[in-house]
């Protein structure tokens, strides 16, 4: 077998590798001893490990490997012709278009194969709440910055939420592996902060991922993992005994009418690891990824059929996309917040995909697949569309297009049409030669291609994209950054109308107003060598002639910036023309400690960009590596810089002065 042979080659080569002394078992024992002592010394910082300080010292200046922004990117599958039959419409007044669901569980069972045992072992949450009657006082509505979401009107969860009066923070534990179990509720009032309560969910092997806020409800989404025995009951395939994990996603709803006394009112449970979610009109749509297991007997349904709140999905709630290749399923449920966690609808799509885009009317699940022909192999994206009106979820259409969606914002629905930009890759089977180019597709409401542009920007990949109405913008990059403008007003004939070539490239595009497009990204020289972080403002009043009217570059070569790969890390407070995000960096020669700060930018017509630096609360004893899980929130004229692992600093800016620290609080 090829795999075996090549593995042996690599292993053989690795025999000569010398393990560094610091990793030898004797040294490790010493380190553990030292660590214990230090832990005792720091008291409440117990758990913060000395090794982490070492992590950044002595890192090579020259990074030898370039990262891909999303390692979790899912790619290639052997494509087999999927036969989806049109379901014969049930006699209702309106015949809806829908993909076929399955008739019975056997079909699912027979089409999957794998090899692990499943142990159901759910633990309930331990939370006691008092039931005092509490009347919240009326507070004036402050203007505050909110979570940066992809589609306006569709809320997305995050580690930090606010309603202008309180901050709700999922406390991050950067040390132990996945330990987040608490949410702190902090009252904010003109820069002053006061932690009024902490809610915690005590489950084994569970961690909180993110939260939603809905008036007087706090919705906590978390994931639990459970080890299962690698017992090969049916002697399927040939696995060694191992113990892997089984995932369940929980949504816990708290009544926080009395902010100082959160009360758990409902716990909702869904099979699978947490994929994503959205909140629209007081309904939460939860997407999980479920890995089925068919080494159990057919009767053990819980092994291969997803469960919601102790009940398995029914056959008429299951869509099966490809027979034989199915391993993972996407489980989608709509949960009503008005009706305290009642499930409105639920569906599972086996083989559906693992990335999500949600528009005002539809949910799109997509994944990358392989297509092999005699001479070539290429990447395709398979898209499944589901409608979700009022919580009713129906899979309607599916399609395949060329290329991979490399940026979340590359897919957008407008007036029934779906616009997608992809980066296409193909390999010659004979020479392994790779060709890369980009394409744009417009699909109608049945996911049929109406118009497309192909062979764009050969050799480059898409870095960012944003669509609005009848115009779209996207950025590709190899050495210079063409910012393409596309006219999408005619679905049969999309047209590139502009191509602005500038140095560097944007990682994230945001419409500032109807005439301006903001780009956050990287500056580079003419050869493509990176120079630092850049913000650009583009004048798009004439999309055929886009101009970069201002830019600001922070010269740094050795930095870490969450905004580059997580759009929720970007604070956009257009009411006050503000942009903010955290940057962690070393000084030029790495002689000083690693430091991270919150950069607050402002853009004004006429004067352009300016910025100020507001330090992030850090642990004074250790190097601050917390450039991740940092958010900035504006409430009225106060800036709260939240380091979700440590604490919060509030700042205030006077008329002609700079941002001044007001107070700080630990989490």
């Amino acid at each position: 077998m090829i795999e075996k042979k090549i593995n042996e080659m690599i292993k053989e080569n690795s025999e000569k590798i010398e393990i560094p002394n610091s990793l030898k078992p004797e040294q490790v024992i010493e380190k553990l001893e030292k660590n214990n002592q230090k832990r005792r010394y720091f008291g409440k910082y117990a758990g913060i490990v000395a090794a982490i300080v070492c992590l950044f010292i002595g890192l090579d200046m020259i990074k030898d490997n370039v990262t891909e922004r999303r390692i979790e990117k899912n790619d290639i599958v052997q494509q087999e012709k999927a036969t989806i039959e049109e379901k014969v419409p049930v006699t209702t007044a309106k015949a809806k278009r829908e993909l076929a669901t399955i008739d019975n569980y056997d079909i699912v069972y027979d089409s999957i194969y794998s090899n692990t045992n499943l142990r159901q072992n759910a633990h309930g949450a331990n939370l006691e709440g008092a039931t005092d009657f509490f009347v919240p006082e009326e507070k004036t509505k402050e203007i505050y910055s909110d979570t940066n979401t992809q589609v306006s009107g569709i809320d997305e969860a995050d580690i930090i939420k606010t309603d202008g009066n309180y901050l709700y923070v999922v406390k991050q534990d950067n040390i132990a592996y996945r330990e987040n179990r608490e949410v702190s509720i902090i009252n904010v009032d003109n820069g002053k902060m006061d932690k009024v309560s902490t809610l915690s969910i005590k489950k084994e092997n569970y961690h909180i991922v993110e939260v939603y806020l809905d008036e007087n409800q706090l919705i906590v989404i978390g994931q639990q993992s459970e080890e299962k025995n690698g017992e090969n009951k049916k002697n399927v395939a040939c696995y060694d005994l191992y113990v892997m994990e089984n995932y369940t996603t929980y949504m816990t709803i708290f009544d926080i009418t009395d902010r100082s006394n959160p009360i758990k009112v409902k716990e909702y449970k869904q099979s699978g690891s947490y994929g994503s979610s959205r909140k629209v009109d007081e309904i939460v749509y939860l997407f999980t990824r479920f890995i089925p297991d068919a080494t159990r007997d057919k009767e053990e349904i819980e092994a291969y059929i997803p469960y919601i709140n102790q009940k398995p999905l029914q056959s008429d709630e299951i869509y099966l996309k490809e027979k034989g290749e199915n391993q993972n399923a996407v489980v989608i449920a709509s949960v009503s917040l008005k009706q305290l966690g009642k499930v409105i609808d639920k569906k599972a799509v086996y083989g559906g995909g693992d990335q999500f885009y949600v528009s005002k009317d539809n949910i799109y699940i997509y994944c990358e697949k392989w297509k092999e022909t005699k001479n070539k192999s290429k990447i395709q994206t398979e898209i499944t569309k589901l409608s979700y009106k009022n919580g009713e979820i129906i899979a309607t259409d599916t399609c395949n297009i060329n290329g991979a969606i490399t940026d979340t914002f590359s897919i957008d629905e407008n007036e029934g049409y779906l616009r997608v930009v992809t980066t296409c890759t193909s390999w010659s089977n004979k020479t392994s030669e790779e060709t890369v180019w980009n394409a744009l597709y417009i699909l109608d409401s049945a996911l049929q291609v109406t118009g497309k542009i192909s062979n764009l920007a050969k050799g480059e990949t898409i870095q960012s994209a944003r669509f609005f109405g009848e115009t779209g913008y996207f950025v590709t990059f190899k050495k210079v950054d063409p910012l393409f403008s596309v006219n999408l007003s005619n679905p049969d004939n999309p047209e590139i109308i502009g191509e602005l070539k500038i140095t560097g490239f944007s990682d994230y595009l945001h419409f500032w107003d109807e005439n301006l497009l903001l780009g956050i990204g990287v500056e580079a020289d003419k050869n493509g060598t990176e120079k630092g972080i850049k913000l650009s403002m583009f004048d798009i009043s004439n999309p055929a002639n886009v101009k970069e009217v201002d830019k600001i570059v922070l010269p740094c070569s050795d930095y870490f910036c969450e905004a580059m790969y997580n759009y929720k890390a970007v604070m956009l407070h257009l009411e006050q023309n503000q942009i903010g995000f955290s940057i962690g960096s070393y000084n030029e020669k790495r002689t000083k400690k690693f430091k991270s700060d919150f950069y607050l930018f402002k853009y004004e017509n006429g004067t352009g960009f300016s910025y100020e630096v507001c330090p992030i609360l850090e642990d004074e004893e250790e190097a601050n590596i917390y450039y991740e899980n940092v958010r900035g929130i504006m409430v009225a004229d106060y800036l709260y810089v939240i380091n979700a692992s440590q604490g919060i600093i509030s700042y205030y800016k006077g008329q002609d002065s700079s941002w001044e620290k007001i107070s700080k609080i630990s989490l």
Binding site: I10, D64, E227, A524, N527
Partner: protein
């Protein structure tokens, strides 16, 4: 490679380790540390980073050893911690130069590799290499890798087989 341990002895050892016995933990560590380091080194391509990652993974594992239910799980569990730290580290290497996706070695990289093997691995992308190294040094199959990396198992299988095909053409033809 990995040292075979008598199962009963293993259960005893992990019980001790959970009580905070560092020697016991070191015994468990002994069975995996070489593979962990090699995995991190090949994946990150940088000696110092690999050392840091394995060191951090070890500390994490030691401080949360009580959560480990099954002794048998130790190896895959610590591999998972390491793989995730590698992913985090790779995300930090955020530099887009025209050498996108190239397998560049730091001066300190001292693996004496066969030239053709090294050249062949260069043609793979970061993710493909991560999958292959988990397979080589971890001994994991696609489904296990999917669970370690929280990826779609279809994706893992195809990406892995595609990577091996590419390598086969270059190394075994």
């Amino acid at each position: 490679m990995s040292i075979q341990v008598n199962e009963i002895e293993w259960e005893k050892t992990i019980k001790q380790a959970k009580k905070g016995d560092k020697e016991a933990f070191a015994t468990m560590y002994k069975t995996v540390y070489q593979d962990l380091y090699k995995f991190a080194l090949y994946t990150l391509g940088n000696q110092q980073d690999a050392e840091d990652v394995v060191s951090e993974a070890t500390m994490n594992a030691y401080s949360s050893i009580k959560k480990l239910k099954e002794a048998k799980a130790f190896r895959s569990w610590i591999f998972k911690i390491t793989a995730n730290l590698c992913k985090r580290k790779m995300r930090e290497y955020y530099k887009k130069t025209e050498q996108l996706n190239e397998y560049i070695e730091a001066p300190s990289y001292h693996i004496e590799e066969k030239e053709d093997l090294r050249r062949a691995m260069k043609t793979l992308d970061k993710e493909e290499r991560l999958l292959i190294y988990l397979s080589v040094f971890g001994g994991y199959k696609s489904k296990e890798i999917a669970e370690i990396l929280n990826m779609n198992v279809n994706t893992v299988r195809s990406k892995k087989s595609r990577a091996y095909e590419k390598l086969e053409k270059l190394l075994l033809s």
